[in-house]
């Protein structure tokens, strides 16, 4: 658990990412342009936001499978609060975000109060929140949002997509919290050895509660941006999002057994996957081929990480 070792995985990943960027830029002259890269940033923002919280979750040795469903539910609630309940849109956004946060808090309570393993608890809420989304929506889409609302998902600030600013800001905050604060150290301690952490006086349950609540909040935030980007709400929004998020986090070097992982790693993992998806598509590789390459890269990166650990007597 030394800083040096943590740095090593990220170094490998950074080199891999730079290599991928160089290769992809050579494969297609459309890839390494400011316009394309910013656009890709826009497309990965929703996954990126949720991945920040997921890094914390996995570092504690947990998992949150319900984030995609929370995204779907928050999206639907945004539409319902605005159109059916008649709240002004800004208020509807806040209310929907609050519900997303509560959904995350719900996960945290089930996990900490009832000692349900996170995998089981969030598997259940994956179904619960998606079911609520479908039930509440009455299977109808909500459309016709005012023009200003599309700013969050489609607008630009100083030439950079709005959500990329948000993602950058929150990534920095998450990085600081995980890397430099007491809360961050508590997070690692919970994941490394929960019993030891408990006996060391760390507030294990409170830490977890905060983290799952944050996951709900960020999934809700991603929902608002997603709705703004695609201009409609559907109850199936965010289906499968949890897999994209977990893939990015794990590729970023966060150990699924807990106690290990960084925000920088997660960011690199997400960038690598997005670059591969986009770059391969631009150089004429079809969708199915791209998935194969991503699978191979994922396995290679994880094997490399595992070998590395063994060599160091990990």
């Amino acid at each position: 658990m030394t800083a040096a070792r943590l740095l090593r995985h990220e170094t490998i990943l950074a080199i891999l990412t730079v290599l991928a960027l160089i290769v992809l830029a050579n494969l297609s002259d459309k890839f390494f342009t400011a316009e394309n890269l910013l656009n890709q940033g826009r497309l990965m923002s929703e996954v990126g936001l949720v991945a920040l919280a997921m890094t914390f979750v996995i570092v504690t040795g947990g998992i949150d499978l319900s984030v995609g469903s929370i995204l779907g539910m928050t999206a639907i609630l945004l539409g319902v609060f605005w159109q059916n309940v008649g709240l002004p849109l800004p208020l509807a956004m806040v209310a929907a975000l609050l519900c997303g946060t509560l959904a995350g808090l719900g996960n945290g309570l089930i996990i900490t109060r009832f000692k349900v393993p996170p995998l089981i608890a969030t598997l259940a809420t994956l179904a619960l929140y998606r079911g609520l989304a479908e039930g509440i929506s009455q299977a109808r889409s909500v459309r016709g949002y005012p023009e200003w609302f599309f700013y969050f998902g489609q607008g630009e600030l100083l030439g950079v997509p709005f959500q990329l600013w948000l993602l950058g800001l929150l990534t920095t905050i998450a990085g600081v919290i995980l890397g430099l604060t007491t809360f961050g150290r508590a997070t690692y301690a919970v994941g490394a050895n929960e019993t030891a952490a408990r006996f060391s006086g760390i507030r294990v349950d409170a830490t977890k509660l905060w983290i799952y609540t944050a996951a709900g909040f960020l999934a809700g935030l991603a929902a608002v941006i997603f709705v703004s980007r695609v201009t409609t709400t559907r109850s199936d929004m965010g289906t499968g999002l949890e897999l994209d998020v977990i893939t990015g986090v794990v590729l970023g070097g966060t150990s699924i057994f807990g106690g290990k992982g960084t925000i920088v790693g997660t960011a690199l993992g997400l960038i690598l996957i997005q670059a591969l998806k986009n770059g391969l598509a631009l150089s004429g590789v079809k969708g199915d081929g791209t998935i194969v390459v991503i699978g191979v890269v994922l396995i290679a990166a994880i094997l490399a990480g595992a070998l590395f650990d063994r060599n160091r007597g990990g």
């Binding site: 459309k30 089930i110 259940a124 039930g135 109808r140 409609t232 559907r234 109850s235 969708g287 998935i291």
Partner: protein
């Protein structure tokens, strides 16, 4: 033990709330106005409407020049879109000046489809053909394509009109609704009960058909009883399970199942076969002939309703070429589509492929898709 009970209770609640909160009309229909056809075969008159499609900005002159076209269907790897792809490639070959390829997500996912189109805009194509997973969600990225001077034509599943130039309509919704309900009434009688297996309640085509079916049944077969609509997401396994659940849930009351997708119909037929209910429960639905041949041969399924998706892809490609050449302009009343002849323009910016087609034991052998 308590943990498990809690998880099960949560899971159960989640599943139940999905159905318990559903509305009173036929679930799965949309809330747009319906226009049921006459109970006999009187054709509907086409109402005149101004062009309401979009137009690309600063498109280069592509008349007669080679163009690069990408086709992004809802998903790839299923029989239906393989057939439209075949039609697109046939047309491209016949035209000789089109480089066409199909690429898209392996699941009918709005976000992935948007990303595919976005990437092809960046890579610089001349034309985009699409079948939308969601009419509104796909609109921003299609508008971006138009803004970049790309010709955009939809087929199979529409977007909002101003996000594309033309849409090739495979069959009008009320036509399909009438064909399905009439076929079902013929098989289970005027007082039979039936259920519907659809993709998702918000998938535009299926929602529209169900709404039209509901309206047509109310007008022309008022005693038929609708039991339930279930979602199966164009997933083979899920469709089979949903159909099996319906058979077990309603028992002898269930006389017929509608399959609303090319995945749900064969899966429902398989469920009926495995339940040993062939002849007792009719399956009527939309499907590709190849998937239905075994069930039609065994007399388990009598009518399969569809249009010809190869023709649909072919027409879409022909329309895109005509738009790129400038021969199809806003205000036109028909378009020449190669071997299909003149196709009629309807609803302002849509092109009608023709009347729906019912495959039966007598003719299904002639089709291979």
């Amino acid at each position: 033990m308590r943990k498990l009970t809690l998880a099960a209770a949560l899971l159960g609640f989640g599943l139940m709330s999905g159905t318990a909160l559903a509305g009173s009309a036929w679930t799965g229909g949309d809330d747009q106005a319906t226009n049921p056809l006459a109970c006999d075969a009187t054709p509907a008159a086409a109402a005149a409407k101004d062009y309401d499609g979009g137009s690309p900005t600063g498109a280069p002159d592509r008349a007669g020049k080679p163009i690069k076209v990408v086709d992004v269907p809802k998903l790839i790897g299923i029989g239906y879109f393989n057939a439209t792809t075949k039609g697109i490639l046939d047309a491209a070959k016949e035209l000789g000046n089109v480089d066409a390829k199909t690429d898209g997500p392996t699941k009918a996912n709005i976000d992935e489809q948007i990303t595919f189109i976005d990437n092809y805009i960046t890579s610089g194509v001349d034309g985009i053909l699409f079948a939308a997973n969601d009419p509104v969600a796909i609109a921003p990225v299609l508008k971006k394509a138009l803004y970049k001077g790309i010709n955009v034509v939809g087929y199979d599943a529409n977007s909002t009109p101003d996000a594309r130039q033309w849409f090739v309509n495979q069959a009008q919704f009320n036509g399909i609704g009438k064909a399905l309900i009439d076929d079902m009434a013929k098989e289970i009688g005027e007082e039979g009960s039936f259920a519907i297996v659809t993709s998702t309640f918000t998938t535009p085509n299926q929602a529209r058909w169900i709404a039209e079916m509901s309206a047509y049944a109310a007008a022309c077969h008022p005693k038929m009883k609708w039991l339930e609509t279930v979602e199966a997401q164009e997933d083979n396994n899920l469709s089979f399970n949903q159909a099996t659940t319906l058979i077990n849930k309603y028992g002898d009351e269930l006389k017929g199942i509608f399959g609303m997708t090319s995945v749900a119909t064969p899966a429902s037929a398989e469920a009926v076969t495995q339940a040993g209910k062939c002849g007792k429960i009719a399956v009527v639905g939309l499907a590709t002939p190849n998937a239905m041949k075994p069930y039609v041969a065994k007399d388990c399924v009598k009518s399969v309703v569809l249009w010809n998706p190869v023709d649909l892809g072919y027409a879409a490609m022909m329309v895109l070429r005509a738009v790129a050449d400038g021969t199809l302009k806003p205000g036109a009343t028909s378009v020449k589509a190669g071997k299909l002849g003149d196709l009629q323009v309807i609803n302002g910016s849509e092109i009608l492929l023709g009347a729906p087609y019912t495959f039966t034991k007598d003719n299904i052998g002639q089709f291979d898709f």
